[in-house]
């Protein structure tokens, strides 16, 4: 059993050596003259307004949660669509069960107004 882990330990040791060497080499080779605008966090060229740890409105969380739900739906649907013929009737029925439950949830959030940006 323990010998199975030898490659992992070699790998970890390799990482431990390689990273300091790369960083050190880069430090020695690169020209070094920082300025204020160079040290600013870079985001699409827009100047940062304030700290990113501030409060968000709760609407973002609702959108995020809904996104996860439909993201998972897609993850389910894609493999099924790829293997549609092989899975046949059984796959279709199972997927319909899944989709019916999801559609009920969709109607519910729609009617509750969770999709509107109030």
């Amino acid at each position: 059993m323990p010998q199975n882990y030898v490659p992992i330990f070699i790998f970890i040791a390799f990482i431990g050596i390689l990273i300091p060497i790369t960083l050190l080499a880069a430090k020695l080779v690169r020209p070094d003259n920082p300025s204020k605008s160079k040290l600013m966090p870079y985001e699409c060229g827009i100047d940062p307004l304030d700290s990113s740890r501030g409060r968000y409105t709760v609407r973002f969380y609702i959108v995020a949660i809904l996104f996860v739900v439909f993201d998972v739906e897609t993850i389910f649907l894609f493999p099924w669509a790829v293997r549609f013929k092989a899975l046949g009737m059984y796959g279709l029925v199972e997927m319909l069960v899944f989709l019916i439950i999801l559609i009920v949830g969709y109607i519910w959030i729609w009617k509750k107004g969770a999709l509107e940006w109030v």
Binding site: Y90, E94, V104
Partner: protein, 510 residues
């Protein structure tokens, strides 16, 4: 994949679960078009759903089981074992959910949170519980557990404008998610050790490993057992994993606190017994000392903490932890290799009577909720007898039953547990449990003292709604009836157990 892994017979076997899911989805949709005045109709829909599900158990699952003549039917590629043990718990969950719904209707109207989602969530959590009780594959058990737990997290925080409810929900969510993580880790270790997710396969794998290690479990096996047990003990709220229970019960809507203390707990017990008796069966010599420690710790800590509580929901939460301590003794009873059948019978009987008496006690507290009085502090119930004599007498009944006084139902729960302990020679544990039962009597009678022997501050009579009357009536009737005439219920427990045992034996001998 040429042959589909499931067929129609599987769906028919699990029809109770499917029907319940459909009704829950239906409630979500119907609620969207229900005007505010008609929200109680959702409770009726939920009760109809429970009735249909019960009918499906009687006329489909149970019939199919009888016709097959076997000890249990495997469904969904061996991930679900529908045996009498599972059916017993299914009935228990449905009964607990029905009583909780009856107790909820008026309570939610007073809290002005009577949304249909409440009933849909209760049904969803019962679906999860049914998967836990019938699951033979740890993946199905885990999914059932999460379905139940997530529904319960939302239900605990259902009083959105109430800070205590929100706080309770957050605490329960964080600790619950943490324990689920540890539990999943334990299950993954078991999978790593045995290469199986099926409980019978896990048992066989562990058996082989124990045999090859001359009866000594390796360190990984002990870690797997500890992490799995941590998850299980958290869900049944045993000391030292009990901290969430008083907070969650106190903040939750009272009807949900009752539901959690009986149905969620029974589901956790169903899962615990399945995993411990079947999957971890070969490790019995390792887990018995662990459970003895947890059981003594639960009885000691909970009984001592309950003595000083002034909030009734917290007091009942600690008392429910103490009851878990007694029930764990049923698992300890037996030798180091063989579990005592009487002990398991005691646990099942205990869960049955506990469902009715504890729901009844929480129901009485829920009935005290008025527009301006929360009614869960001990001072709120001072002199209750002069304001609401019916509820007071019922509360006394439930409290005496919780304390284990014959001829009420609670006596039989404790009786079988203590009997199994004495039969297998655990005299010290039995005496300790009896001493703690006396502690229990003190704090239950403290509530009775407030109800009957104090002057009422507020003399107004308390109204009792129809749903509340029905729920409390059923709970009280069952508490008295099981106590006076326990025969059919003992027979039911034996009926359910014969097969849990033989499935266990079948799994270990192959």
């Amino acid at each position: 994949m040429t042959t589909p892994p499931f067929n129609l017979a599987d769906y028919i076997m699990s029809l109770p679960i499917i029907l319940l899911t459909l009704f829950a989805l239906g409630i979500l949709l119907i609620d969207l078009v229900t005007p505010k005045r008609w929200k109680w109709m959702n409770a009726v829909t939920a009760l109809v759903g429970i009735a249909f599900s019960t009918g499906a158990i009687v006329f489909r699952s149970q019939k199919a089981l009888r016709l097959s003549g076997g000890s249990g039917l495997l469904a969904y590629s061996n991930s679900m074992l529908i045996d009498r043990y599972a059916l017993y718990f299914w009935y228990l969950f449905l009964a607990a959910a029905a009583i909780s719904i009856l107790l909820s209707v008026r309570y939610l109207e007073i809290e002005q949170e009577n949304h249909g989602e409440y009933y849909a969530l209760i049904l969803f959590s019962v679906v999860g519980m049914m998967c836990m009780a019938a699951g033979l594959d740890v993946v199905l058990i885990f999914i059932g557990l999460e379905l139940m737990a997530i529904s319960t997290y939302v239900l605990v925080g259902f009083l959105r404008t109430n800070r205590r409810s929100n706080e309770a929900a957050l605490k329960y969510l964080l600790l619950g998610a943490f324990s689920s993580g540890i539990f999943a880790y334990g299950l993954s270790l078991l999978y790593g050790l045995t290469g199986q997710t099926n409980l019978i396969g896990i048992a066989q794998g562990l058996q082989q490993r124990m045999a090859s290690g001359n009866g000594h479990p390796g360190p990984i096996m002990v870690i797997a057992l500890l992490t799995t047990a941590t998850g299980l003990l958290f869900k049944i709220a045993a000391v030292p994993f009990h901290q969430w229970a008083p907070d969650a019960y106190e903040g939750a809507p009272t009807s949900i606190a009752g539901f959690m203390s009986v149905a969620v707990k029974a589901a956790a017990w169903a899962m615990l017994l399945r995993i411990v008796l079947i999957g971890l069966g070969p490790l019995r010599s390792v887990y018995v000392p662990l459970f003895i420690f947890v059981s003594i710790a639960s009885m000691t800590a909970a009984n001592l903490a309950a003595l000083t509580q002034s909030n009734m929901k917290r007091l009942l939460a600690y008392s429910s932890i103490a009851h878990v301590g007694y029930m764990l003794l049923g698992l300890v009873a037996g030798t180091t290799t063989q579990v005592s059948v009487d002990g398991i019978r005691g646990i099942l009987m205990y869960l049955l009577v506990y469902t009715f008496m504890n729901l009844g006690a929480f129901g009485v507290i829920a009935s005290l909720r008025q527009r301006n009085v929360i009614g869960d502090e001990l001072d709120d119930i001072a002199g209750l007898y002069y304001r609401a004599p019916t509820e007071s007498v019922l509360m006394l009944l439930f409290l005496l039953s919780l304390a284990g006084i014959p001829p009420l139902a609670g006596f039989y729960g404790k009786y079988f547990i203590f009997l199994s302990l004495i039969e297998t020679g655990h005299y010290a544990l039995a005496s300790l449990a009896v001493i703690y039962a006396v502690f229990g009597l003190y704090y239950y009678m403290k509530i009775a003292n407030y109800i009957f022997m104090r002057e009422a501050i507020d003399k107004t009579r308390l109204p009792l709604s129809w749903g509340m009357r029905a729920g409390l009536g059923i709970a009280a009737f069952a508490t008295v009836f099981i106590g006076i005439y326990p025969e059919p219920f003992i027979r039911t427990v034996n009926w359910s157990l014969g097969l849990a045992q033989s499935a266990l034996v079948a799994g270990l001998t192959h």
